[in-house]
Each structure stands twice: as C-alpha cells, then as structure tokens.
Symmetry: D2
Subunit: 269 residues, 4 copies
C-alpha cells in the first residue's frame, strides 16, 4: 500500500537492485506534491528524482536505463495518454482541462469497505472524489513536464457498475482551429508505432469511441475523440483496464523495457 | 416519437384542449433550434411560443395557466436544475460549462437496436454522442433565458450499465470567490421549498453526493456539489430517474400544477 | 446475528413482552434441529415450543395470539409458500423435492467477506452451499407439519448478480395425474385471498413466470408453475424480495397481525 | 438458424465436403425427436445417422473420421459432461434427474426481442422454459446411448444477469452408497486426461464449485460436485462459456480432431 513501500524501495535501491514500484511512493518528483496530494511528508525526498515515471509511451528511453521505475496510477495513465499529444502540440486551453473518469470496482483496492460490498456498490453512479483526487498530481506532473510550464487538471472520478475498466472523458477547449484530420495526424505521429495504444474511431457501429468493455483483460489503452464545433471543444476519450495498463500490465511492460525484452512479452495475446 | 407529435399536438391545441407533451416537438421556442439540433424544419413555428417549458421548479406560474406544456428531456432537466441557480446568480464562467452525463439503458427508448441488446449493452461505459447531443439545446435555452444572454453548454452523455437513472456531473469554473456556505444558501433560496428537489451533502458515508441509485422509482432530483479550490472549479452534481423526473413523473407533476391539484399527488410515496 | 438473539429473546419473553424475532434462534421447534443445522446446542430448548413460525399465510391464527413470533429465513419462506399447497393436497412424491434457489447479494448479511465485495461478487453464478443449507430445516419443519409425516427437501442455493431478490425453482414429481386447471384451483383455494401472494401465469410476454425483478421493494411472494408431462414433473416457481417478505416485510406483516392492524399497513403501496 | 441449415448441410455432404454444423439440424439421430422437440418433420431423416454428435470428450474416435459433425447445444453439452460419468457407472436413479440451468444473455441468439433488451433483461432471474426445453433431447440422447436404455432428464433453464456463461446444477439421487473419493476417482478416470475439462473442488475460498465467471472466454468446462447425505443426493455442477465450449469453441475443437491437429490449437491460451 501507498506510504509503506517507501522504506522497502529505498532499502532495495541502496543495494543496487532494479525496482518496479506499483505504489505511489515515488511517482511524484516534487516532495511538496506528497504534502499536497497525500497529506504526508516524504521520508526520502532525495530519492524522488531517481525514479522514472513508468509510462513507456512517454519515457521509454529513460526506463531502459532506470534503476527505479514507478508505475502510474490507473486513472492517471489513462487520462494523460489522451492529453499528452494535445499539450505537446500546444493545441488546448490549459486553464480548462476537465477530466471526468468512470471506473470499475476493482479499482478500489483489496481492502474493501462497506461501500465496496456488492449490495451497496451494484447499480451506482457514485461520484467519489469530485475534487482533489490524488491521481490528479501525476497527470499534472507529466503534462507540465512536456509543456514546460505548470498545467492544471480538473479531475472528477465516478464509480460505475463494472468490475474492471476505466473511461476518461477528457474535455478540452481548443486554442486554435484544427480539424479531425489534423488531430489524427497528431495522434498517429505520437502513438502510431505504439503496441499498446489503439487509435479508435469507427464512423458506424457500437465502437465509435473507446469503451473499457473492449480492453478488459488486455494491456491496451484505446484513444479516440470527438469535436464539438459549437463550443470549440475537443473531447479526448481514453479507455484501459485498470488492472492491466493501469497496474500489473504496465509493470510487466516496464520490466520488458528495462530488461531489453520484446515490449509485448507476456502481455500481448 | 419526436417529430410525429407535432401534428397531433397542433390539432388538439386548435380544439382548445390542454396538452402535456412528452415529445421534443414543442420544447424549443426558436424554430431555428429545430434545424440545428434535430435537422428538420418545424412545421408549426407559430406554435412554439405557445408552449411552456414543463419544469415547475422554473416555470410554475406559467404552467398553471398554460394550455400546452412540453416536458423536458431527461438529461436536460437533470442538468439544468443544478446549473440554474449558478447562472441566475451569475457565479460561473459561461464559456466553460461542461456537462458530463451518465445514463441507464431505459433512456434508449422503446425501439431498441443491436446496441441496446443486453449482451452488447451490459458492462459498457459507452460515450454515445460526445458532441452535439440534442438535449443540449434545451439546457442552453433555459439557462440563456434566466441569464438574459446566450449561454453555451458542452454536454457529453455516456451509457452505463444500469437500467434507470441519470447522473449529471456539471463542471463549472467560478467567476468569483464563493465558499460552501454561500453556495448552500443560494441553492436553498432557489429550491428549499421544492418538494421534488433534495439538496444532498453528507460529510460521511456512501451518500455524500447525488447518485441515481437513490432516486430510482421516485420523482426526485437530487442536487449536491463539491468545490475544487485548485482549479476554481465548482462541480454541481444532479441525479434523477429518467423515467420519472425525466419523463412520466414530470408529466404528472405538470398535470398537478395545471389542474390545481397538490403538486405531489400520485408521485410522492 | 443468529445464536446471540436467544438470550435477549428469553429475557424479554420472561418479562411478558411481545417479540418478533428476525434471527433463526426460535424458528425451529425441535432442539435437535439446532444441532443438526446450526451445529450448536440450543440454550433454551423449552422456549422453542413457545415460538410461532412467522408466516401469516400458514399460521395467521396462532400469530394473532402469540407472544413470540419467529420470522422465517428468506429462502425458506419463499420456497415453502410454493410447496405448501402441493404437500397439503398430497400431490407430490415426497422423496424427490428439489429446491434450486437463486439469490441476490443483499442476502449475505451486513458483515461482508472478500467474496461479497463487488469486484468478486459481480458476474457470478456461484453455488454456495449445494447441500445442507440451514434454511432447509425450516422448510422441512413446516411441510412436515402439514403433511403429518417427515418431509425431506433437497435445497441448493446459488448467488447471482442482483442485489435484492430470490427465485426458488421447486422441482417436484407428481404422484397423480393433475392438469393445470386443477393446480390453479388448489393454489387459489389456498392463497386466493392472501394480500401478499400473487399467482402468476401469463400465457405471453416477459412475465409468464415469477421473477424477483418484479417484486423488489414489495412484500409480495409471486407464485407460478409449469408442467413437464414428459417427466411427470411440476415446477413450482416462487419469487420474493429477501429484504421484504424474506425479512423486514414479514416482520411488519406479523406485527400487523399480532396487533390487530390491517395486515397490509405500512407494507402495501 | 436451426431448420434452415439442413438444406445446405445436405448439399455439402453430397459433394463429399467435411462439415462442422453449429445448428441443431443434425444433432438428434432419431427423426421422431425433431417432431417432439422442434415441432417439425426432418426433411432428410436418412442423413441423421451420418452425423456424429460433436463432443470430443464422448466421441473423439468417431469425430476423427466423420464427414459431418454436429456441435451440441450449449446447455446440453455443459450438463451432459457432468452427468455422463454418473450414468456410465450406473450410480444414479434415472427417474429423477433434475437439471437446473442458469444462462447469460448471449445465449439468446443474434435476433433479439424486447425481452433481450438491456432495460428488460438486466436484473432478472427469469425462468424461460421450465419444461420441455429443446436441449433436453440432446442430453437424453447421449445419456441413453451410454446407458443402453432410455434416460429422461428434467431440465429447466433460467436467464440471469450475465452476458456469457452457463451453470448447470445437475441434481441427482444416488442408487448406491458412494463417497467423495469414489466420485473423484470416477470423474478422473473419465476426464483426467481431457484438456478442456477441469475438475474443481477447493475446500476453501471462493471457487469451491464451478462458476461460469471463471471460464468466460475459454473453452473449458469446469465440473465439480457436492454430496447431500441427508437426501442421498449428488449435486453435479458444470460451468462453461456458451459462446466457447457451448458453440464456437466446440466447433474449433472438433475441427482440430477431424484434421489431426493438436486438439487445443487456437483455443487454449
């Protein structure tokens, strides 16, 4: 669990071991971010800079040579992959980025509360932390890094009645006129070669936009979008399985990169 | 179905009958809005002004004496009730109103497509019209009226795995500094006496925010909010049963108002 | 919880109070049945005979004058109501009564285990006690009483992915030739006047047989059947809401009977 | 669809092609069974004997050399695999075999009715053909063949709120005293070497008995049982994915056997 991994990771690090950490303890680089998002002071602030944020699509080269890789939060990675190309290409108004997330019950962790019991959890659309969810910090860190300036994200997660899966509806407002074709070009340039990102937009059928139903059990992050001319809005949609790309799948993908294995080893079917 | 009710409504209207219309055919007052949102030209544009938008919480007095009342779209009424006090009190940035809706399968209408079959519809979080959903027009009309100027809304609905119920997550950005207490005062001033609006914010437990699970089968619209200081964001949440407050329940509530009955007659348990 | 209510009930009983007990501690009349089904020796075996089994449809007169009424187990009452008329009229082979029950997650009690967490409980059809489930003892007791001889029941419950509701599929083999009309006559004779039993068999549509979906939130027990000539089998189906007729609803119904109130007071909508 | 495949299959057969038929048109060997279970007279009764019933676990050698293989009904194969060893070893009372099936919505076929719409199908436990379901004929045929005498089965299917998966609760009454160890020996002797049958009985945990949740997406049929001494009852439980072992998976498994490929080719992960 978050907060308790720090000691173990530090000890292993000091012995020179390679570490892939699934906790949040070394995800954020700035010690103050732990005070802000987690409410505790980080015990080993010096080690934060030693950790590479474990999203190969963003930091593959650094991960290759890293000793410590921190796997991202499930909602964070799903959202940032959709937003990253937009920020990198300076397309959107950075003061009004709204991330509305929907997530299944397996995201609640192993512990369980009365609220995660089936009888209480079934049938809900439960806003569970409309403001200040911790994963926001990770998204802001990664987007700020590529932007070269501070980026704020307004995220609100909701619990819905599925077990596995996340959908992030990333509402953004365009700064300049772009059309669909331009946007696909930008996404393809960024992710066209990625093995675990699928760019989705059928014109017809039931799968016009990403839907976590179609990524459950896989390490894919599906990304698509829609344009709302009326509001100059770009809705970037991204879906993943919170137990795969959002957790164990990312860990294995990172291990493959660190070890020089084929990146899809063991996680592509 | 929408589009075919127009003839019937006109005929009944001309005979002097009182009409409560559940279709969309007389919801919008501006004929051009039918071209924009529905893609057809309205056959009886002169009659649009005769229709009262059927939300008693907003237009009770007009409904009392109306001959023709148009019941609102389910997502439209749920969203506008949360946003109305914010617009009326000029609290929010009107260029960045994001409405992220989640709705159950009974909202799909009686027809049914392969996408509404259980085997395809179960387990989804399916963005089904991220931009330009028709209900947007109703929200904009009603909010513009109270604002005295054009208000734009950026709405994106999602199909989730429940049968009945809507949650609207209305993301707004505050223009001025307000705290929680101020906001409750504003909501209570507007809706404190309303029989079918419940203002929700427990500090603890599972029901800190509106969740459609708790309104299913009732005519309530539950409203609550959360403040995100970090982004100057106010997340106004509203939940209703799309078959009740979003359809049949509203119709009965309007009938009660038009007939001078107790407004809760037959729809309060 | 079962086992701990015994002390309290005894104490209250000794003070002359009227008691409606929702625990299992005084449901069974024979002390040996506690050893058999619950694995513990009953502390107050003398009090077992003082308790009336709380199913008004079977014991209304006794309940009226009872000081202690024990509400039945949810699966027990649902199953026995369907089987009772068949046993009473000596229609079925008593050596091969198979009760296959399906129940929602709210039947699991307030405690919760890892198996009742949403992530584990969603999507299951989980046989959870195919043999020797405790509620079997209650069904056998009540059916044996009306038969005047020992009746055995072979019950197997299954957890399915709903929150509230029970369906009992009571598979029985007919001893004599009876047709549908005879059977309806028998059920109507037994339950035709009951306020909380609905006899169900549409010839068409989606509601040809009882389905818990249609009793959730109510105190009804719906009963229907189908005949399988090929096997001389009668499938008696019964559905209830385990939190209503199977628990709190029964308690109120019993209270109404004990108090001389209208039996439907507070539980009929 | 069933009934229309007959012409095509005959035509292909006459040209000497190898055929794997997923329809029901050549599953039953006795022409009278089509009159009984399907209500139509078979057009090509002479061809029924040419067809091999496509369950490799029962007819592997015949399938190897067959020209026409008929894949079984999804509920039929799931049930018969659990019952087969019991019949073959003459362990159970053949006059009281009760099969209580629970199945997901993908079993309803591609067509769809108002009853298979999500809004109507979600949350049900719907008995949909308590007597005389067509798959009964297949189970009876296969069990009768191994028994060398007529075996009757009393099957009742139920629609439950999952998409994929079948659980068959096969209630049987033992003719002779057998204990758990004997039974495992029998099942292992029959299926110990089978690649797609898993014998399941953990003593603890959530997976003590077969549950379709754990076979979805695979070609496995999981089999387990429980003993009810009190009633001399043996509850044999079997679970499969109706779209895999119950349909497409079986077809591929049969193709592998017919073609001399590894039987798991393409369907084992």
């Amino acid at each position: 669990p978050h907060g308790t991994a720090a000691d173990i990771v530090k000890a292993l690090y000091d012995r020179g071991m390679k570490i892939i950490d699934l906790s949040a303890d070394f995800r954020l680089h700035n010690p103050e971010d732990y005070t802000k998002w987690y409410g505790w002071e980080h015990k080993y602030p010096d080690y934060l800079s030693k950790s590479v944020f474990g999203v190969p699509e963003l930091h593959r080269d650094k991960i290759k040579n890293a000793q410590l890789v921190s796997c991202p939060g499930c909602m964070a990675v799903t959202s940032m992959l959709a937003l990253y190309p937009l920020i990198k290409n300076d397309l959107i108004d950075i003061d009004h980025i709204v991330v509305d997330s929907k997530i299944g019950s397996s995201g609640a962790g192993a512990g369980g509360t009365s609220g995660t019991q089936h009888a209480m959890r079934a049938g809900v659309i439960r806003p569970y932390k409309p403001a200040k969810h911790r994963h926001t910090g990770e998204i802001e860190q990664e987007l700020s890094e590529v932007a070269g300036k501070k980026i704020k994200v307004a995220m609100s997660p909701h619990a819905v009645d599925i077990v596995r899966g996340i959908l992030c509806t990333n509402h953004t407002f365009l700064k300049k006129q772009v059309d669909e074709k331009d946007l696909w070009k930008i996404y393809r340039a960024e992710f066209g070669e990625e093995k675990f990102i699928r760019l989705i937009r059928d014109k017809n059928g039931m799968y016009k936009f990403p839907d976590p139903k179609f990524v459950v059990g896989s390490n894919f992050c599906d990304i698509g979008f829609d344009l709302d001319d009326d509001n100059n809005r770009l809705i970037a949609l991204s879906a993943s399985d919170n137990l795969m790309k959002g957790a164990a799948g990312s860990a294995i993908q990172n291990m493959n990169v660190m070890s020089g294995f084929d990146e899809t080893q063991g996680i592509m079917y």
